[in-house]
């Protein structure tokens, strides 16, 4: 089985698990569809009836407030019935119980699972084993992928910059542990950005990172030159205790985005962050709340983009 697992026989979206293997026209279609949903949230009645009568289950095996909320809102605005479940999971819980959870919910006539899980490959696994009429949306699996986050970032970039072709994009911080970064890199490369640059110390870069289609810099002041889009990643506090970094202050000194550092990038560069922000660790407040920041725009775009992906994955899948 290949990543075409995501597409049905007509090449339409069936599951949304990873950006890998999806074509530029399909990603563009997602962005265009999202565009049409942007207005919905401004209406007095913030709903369209596209998924009326459908049941969507948000299965969050890992905590998340923002992603879960935007998925829930997106589903509600599409008029679907939504059930959100937070399932505490221990590292010892195995595939059997994951599969059993899925099987149990399946028998309640669910149409779509939105899954977040701490293990890479969990969404693929569910998509491979769930009933054929059910769609699976990956809301983040381990360190593998977070494709809806990447698409809302692409949407935000396109809103402001219009065209991907001339763009040089820098992704800064903990690439190693970031599913967001992996999906962003794939999306930017598929959409044809001129350059994707990752900026981090070696301890926060995966081995052979250049095989992902990026250029590499270990210095923020060098790496920010000619950059149109600056994407900051969240730095987990536990990275200090696992000998990946000496201290927060040294990290901030080297890789924290300040007003001064941002001046090295192009003057019209935008600053993005998938959130939640660690102020004073990877980004200073002046930048996060400053004129070049589009961080809150990302959040509101999250609803439209997720509406687009959910409605596309649940479009009538041929005649039965």
């Amino acid at each position: 089985m290949t990543d075409n697992l995501q597409l049905n026989a007509e090449g339409k979206l069936k599951h949304f698990l990873t950006i890998e293997g999806l074509s530029k026209p399909l990603l563009t279609e997602i962005l265009d569809t999202a565009e049409s949903f942007v207005g919905v949230s401004d209406h007095q009645i913030k709903k369209v009836p596209l998924l009326r009568g459908k049941t969507i289950v948000n299965l969050f095996f890992e905590n998340s407030t923002r992603t879960r909320t935007t998925f829930e809102l997106a589903a509600k605005r599409l008029s679907a019935d939504v059930l959100s479940m937070s399932i505490a999971t221990s590292s010892t819980s195995k595939g059997e119980s994951l599969l059993d959870t899925i099987r149990n919910l399946e028998s309640m006539f669910v149409d779509m699972f939105v899954v977040r899980h701490a293990i890479s490959g969990a969404a693929h696994f569910i998509a491979q084993h769930t009933a054929p009429h059910i769609s699976v949306i990956n809301a983040g699996d381990g360190q593998h992928a977070h494709p809806t986050q990447a698409m809302l970032d692409m949407f935000t970039i396109r809103q402001i910059k219009k065209d991907f072709a001339p763009l040089r994009v820098a992704i800064i911080g903990d690439i190693l542990h970031s599913r967001v970064a992996r999906s962003q890199i794939q999306a930017l490369n598929t959409l044809g950005a001129a350059e994707v640059r990752v900026i981090a110390p070696k301890t926060l870069l995966p081995a052979y990172v250049e095989t992902l289609g990026v250029t590499v810099s270990h210095s923020l002041s060098e790496g920010l030159q000619d950059i149109d889009v600056v994407i900051m990643l969240r730095l987990q506090k536990e990275r200090m205790t696992s000998a990946l970094l000496p201290s927060e202050s040294e990290y901030f000194k080297c890789f924290g985005l300040t007003e001064g550092k941002l001046k090295i990038a192009k003057p019209d560069a935008i600053v993005m962050h998938p959130g939640p922000i660690n102020r004073g660790v990877e980004i200073e407040s002046k930048v996060a709340d400053g004129p070049q920041s589009v961080i809150l725009k990302q959040v509101s775009n999250g609803i439209a983009v997720r509406m687009a992906i959910m409605s596309m994955a649940m479009q009538p899948q041929g005649a039965f």
């Binding site: 089985m1 290949t2 990543d3 697992l5 990873t18 890998e20 195995k94 595939g95 059997e96 994951l98 599969l99 899980h117 293990i119 890479s120 490959g121 969990a122 693929h124 696994f125 084993h129 699996d141 381990g142 360190q143 593998h144 992928a145 599913r179 992996r182 995966p206 081995a207 052979y208 990172v209 095989t211 992902l212």
Partner: protein, 426 residues
């Protein structure tokens, strides 16, 4: 006692440098002759081996039969039948059973299980340290006296080098072979895939090849220091081959084996998240695979093992990192060895030697050859016979193989263990 005549087969016996069409005569469980019929030989069984290859039975340096402790995965009965059908006449059982093979009682139990399964040639490998925890030495001498053929800490790294040193000294005092799978605990980092482009793309916890080569280096140094006999099990990367080659060149007699799947599969096969390819050590790069093949051809790696690890379905049903590693590999051992020959990586004689003569030499067993007087462990196989890996043809209880539903070439037709037919293809 039975007299068996295997006639008109192509006899390949690398230990005796034989490759010719001819007959083998077996009496009283032993090879009687590989030339003329002994005086007064009256065969009560004749096996026609025309267009087939007759060779020593295979000796597998690393298997798990899942008993005692995990009979839901597999049993001695199911796995010894799988072994017999694969031409394997001798197996070395890794000590990570439940309980661990760290007391003579467990070793006795294993011998009993083997007898009950009518497959007596299962040799337990004794745990090097108690419970494989790497803290205290096991009762190696008592274990040896119960029939353990070597000592090993299986897949559990020994973190404290002083303990490894002591264990090696003690093993050397009793002329015990250490089978060592090099894997540094810290660098291994609980990974599940090779640290390379694929693990990076899929965000999988990864194991660098340095986790293997650093542990291998340390063990080589300790072999020099302690004079313990060392065999490296399931080598997986290029630099390990180089290091073993260098050690041999400078007079340190260490040997090595490779698991058959490492000679055919690479990290690229695991995508996306196919748990059938989850093995330890992980599948590495194409360059590593080529180097392992060259190492085998040049003799730096002398043996091939199956590294047979049958699993129940649930063990492989989950997100990739959460599944259990290992392949049920006894029954694909011969066809995959033959594939190496057809791809010109090794000669047929080398392939057979790597499965018989060489492991026998490492274990100092009087087998692995068709020498008159040796136990008649014999495998007869049809190198051209194609078969599909499916439930009908499969005997192991573990169906966890990446080759499921594939068609492979080469199939065993007869297996004799100490002169006793233990398998005949219907």
């Amino acid at each position: 006692m039975r007299h068996i005549h295997i006639k008109q087969g192509r006899i390949i016996d690398p230990a005796n440098d034989i490759d010719r069409i001819g007959s083998i005569y077996i009496s009283d469980g032993k090879i009687a002759s590989v030339t003329e019929a002994p005086a007064g030989f009256n065969a009560d069984t004749v096996i026609d081996a025309s267009n087939q290859i007759v060779c020593p039975g295979f000796i597998d340096l690393s298997v798990r039969l899942r008993e005692p402790g995990q009979s839901r995965k597999a049993t001695f009965k199911s796995e010894t039948q799988a072994a017999a059908s694969a031409g394997v006449t001798t197996m070395c059982l890794q000590p990570d059973t439940k309980p661990v093979i760290d007391t003579p009682a467990v070793a006795e139990l294993i011998k009993e299980l083997a007898q009950k399964a009518n497959y007596p040639q299962v040799y337990p490998i004794a745990a090097l340290t108690q419970k494989l925890e790497g803290n205290e030495l096991s009762s190696m001498l008592a274990l040896k006296e119960t029939g353990c053929i070597a000592v090993s800490n299986a897949n559990q790294p020994i973190r404290n080098l002083l303990i490894l040193r002591r264990a090696m000294e003690y093993a050397a005092s009793h002329d015990l072979l250490l089978i060592f799978r090099p894997n540094d605990y810290w660098l291994g980092n609980n990974g599940c895939a090779h640290e390379g482009a694929v693990a990076t793309r899929y965000g999988l916890p990864s194991i660098p090849d340095a986790a293997e080569t650093i542990a291998l280096d340390q063990c080589l140094e300790l072999a020099e220091l302690t004079r313990c006999r060392v065999h490296f099990g399931q080598i997986s990367c290029k630099r390990s081959v180089i290091k073993i080659h260098q050690a041999n060149k400078y007079g340190l007699a260490v040997s090595a084996d490779v698991a058959i799947h490492q000679l055919h599969l690479t990290e690229n096969d695991i995508r996306p998240f196919d748990s059938a390819y989850h093995v330890l050590p992980p599948l590495r790069t194409e360059a590593d695979k080529q180097y392992l093949r060259q190492g085998l051809a040049s003799g730096t790696i002398s043996s091939i093992c199956s590294d047979h690890q049958p699993h129940d379905i649930d063990a492989k049903l989950g997100a990739f990192p959460e599944t259990e590693p290992g392949i049920s590999s006894l029954e694909t051992l011969l066809p995959l060895m033959l594939k190496l020959v057809s791809q010109h990586a090794i000669t047929l004689a080398q392939g057979i030697a790597a499965l018989s003569e060489q492991p026998a030499r490492i274990l100092k067993l009087p087998s692995g050859a068709l020498t008159p007087g040796f136990p008649a462990d014999v495998c007869v196989f049809d190198p051209e016979l194609s078969w599909q890996v499916n439930a009908e043809n499969w005997r192991s209880k573990g169906t966890n193989t990446p080759y499921w539903h594939r068609t492979l070439k080469g199939r065993v037709t007869h297996t004799l263990q100490a002169g006793k037919p233990i398998f005949c293809l219907q």
